[in-house]
Assembly symmetry: C4
Homo-oligomer: 205 residues x 4
């Protein structure tokens, strides 16, 4: 009798989270602007000049997409929800929903020659790091409160927590990288998302 | 035979409401603007200067998130829907969906030195008060029309209605506080959302 | 074997439609603009001057909300979906999703003293009329192709089609009224939505 | 025991995809701008002058709507999901979610007399071609990995893959047509969407 409502609750959390991931990923397009051509300027080179916008769009789309797939995988294993899980999940959604803002900031300042490009890249990487921290916290909370649907040995638990921690450290390292080169940071974050995609494709496909 | 469609109806109300909460909470990000730097101005201090925007964003995100969690809890107890419930719920969604506007207004005028900061804070608090009134009305209507899935004693009913009324009064008090200090109103509303989150975490987690 | 997928199909149409209604109703808030104050101007009177924006927001919110509730009621009676139903439903969603544009147009030109207020009101009313036509067409198509879950007598069918046609005629009459007075058209459309709400509350609550 | 979670996974992919289609289709309205009238200019002719905006809106709405219906049909036949399917689906959603940008670009430059109209039309057609390629890839991947719920003969498989390939080639041909005439490209793409709608109406309704 008790299991039914808990299951229902998990599915409503998933539906709400899917909604926010879907909306955030689709709102990214609103940050792409039609070039405002000077007299004599042509559309194609003006679009090419906007490559930071498209690069940031693509990177954030890939990251939010991977985040959604991972969230999906994680919640297939989590069978029960408590209030703590709901609040940690809301924390994750805060950073997912905020991502269009640092995406826009990153695109706007990527080619800035002063330190502003570094600041924009660091703000973007910090947002991702915070999302990764909440991701780890959800999983750690679920394990600790026996919300997961099957028994894991302590070794399996440590290994699964470690995997999330590595992701968090990689994003944190991107904050440091931001102060070396903003374009390289964008490239690394994009490749990281692609790598995560393929890695999971291979191990669990 | 009759119970099935009613259950289905409640779940479609929940899905529609979740959709609006998810969209409103995600649209908040569109009100965050990239700073328009003057020549010689640097990005980081310009971002710091935008703290009212981030404060208002965070507060509205927390409030809409708590509202969603509470809506979720309330509708786990409501098993049947009638037209009255649907219209009261639509009233609640009106104020939830409108929140990005007073959020923006509050952020824009928070540091205004005249009375405009007070007006903006009062408009924001009034929006929250109206949402809280509809919240109470939904619950009161559900109890009165036996839409709740289990029998509550008259004492339990009074206590549950009282709990919603207290929330409404706290938001109404924030309207008054708006005319004393806009930044303190924002801080109090944020802390109230955090408190509600933890309080429910503790009592029902 | 055949009934399952058809039922599933109806529920996915409903979910997609709910999504569009929920998004369109929430996007309305993006058309509300923070007043741009002149030096010496105060916030409160500037907000009051924006009443056409709030009036148009509230009217469109009520209309889309009622439309959603009616869609909900109609699809509780429709048990099977065919391609024709899906395309007619897409036609309805086109006009529902477009509504934020004429809402904005109406709000912007409501106080115009020339004929532009009439044009804006007529564009808004035409949008609503087209939505109502598709509403009637969905119902008529569902009856004609036996997609409805219970037998209706020919008299009941005629009466239900008539009820939708009356709504269509009332919206069409609002196109005419637009050329007499734009503010009265807005008021009448708002009252019509409220009346429809209460009328259905009374007869089916 | 294994079938349940796979089915659940497919339904969550569908829900997420429906969300993105619904949001992208509804965000199109944000690209429609209220005309900014010069003194002495009238609203109605200014709206008529904006026909490229409405034409592009209607075409993209029809295309996204048809895409949703096709996605729906395809996933009624796909019963199991693997990671590869999820990533290919994310690729499709990337181009669906991006469509509001080239729609806006197309509308803005449709009446440009130089080559910019051709570039804008080609960008729009390229977006559609890429979406069609991912559509074909999803189906091809599902067939090849036995994710489809019933046995198809090799001939049926070839015929179904061919049908998707024809769509892709038609969109690719529109890239070529873009360099001849942008308005004709828009018209052809709109008629193609309408034709696809009716064709499917006829063969599977």
């Amino acid at each position: 009798m008790n299991a039914q409502p808990d299951l229902a609750e998990t599915s409503r959390i998933e539906a709400f989270s899917d909604g926010i991931f879907a909306i955030a990923i689709t709102l990214l397009v609103l940050e792409l602007h039609i070039p405002d051509l000077e007299p004599g300027e042509r559309l194609w080179p003006a679009l090419v000049d906007e490559w930071p916008q498209f690069g940031a769009y693509l990177t954030s789309f890939a990251i939010l997409g991977i985040m959604w797939i991972n969230h999906h995988s994680m919640f297939r294993q989590i069978q029960r929800a408590d209030r703590g899980l709901m609040f940690l999940n809301l924390g994750l959604l805060l950073w997912a929903a905020l991502l269009p803002f640092p995406t826009n900031l990153f695109a706007e300042f990527l080619q800035d020659e002063g330190t502003d490009a570094h600041v924009a890249a660091a703000v973007y990487s910090t947002n991702l790091t915070l999302a990764a921290i909440f991701f780890s916290a959800i999983w750690w909370h679920a394990l600790r409160n026996h919300l997961v649907d099957h028994e894991m040995t302590p070794a399996e638990q440590r290994s699964s927590v470690l995997r999330y921690s590595v992701g968090t450290l990689l994003y944190a390292a991107a904050i440091g990288l931001s102060f070396i080169s903003a374009p390289i940071t964008l490239l690394v974050l994009f490749l990281l998302a692609v790598y995560y995609g393929f890695e999971q494709l291979r191990t669990r496909g």
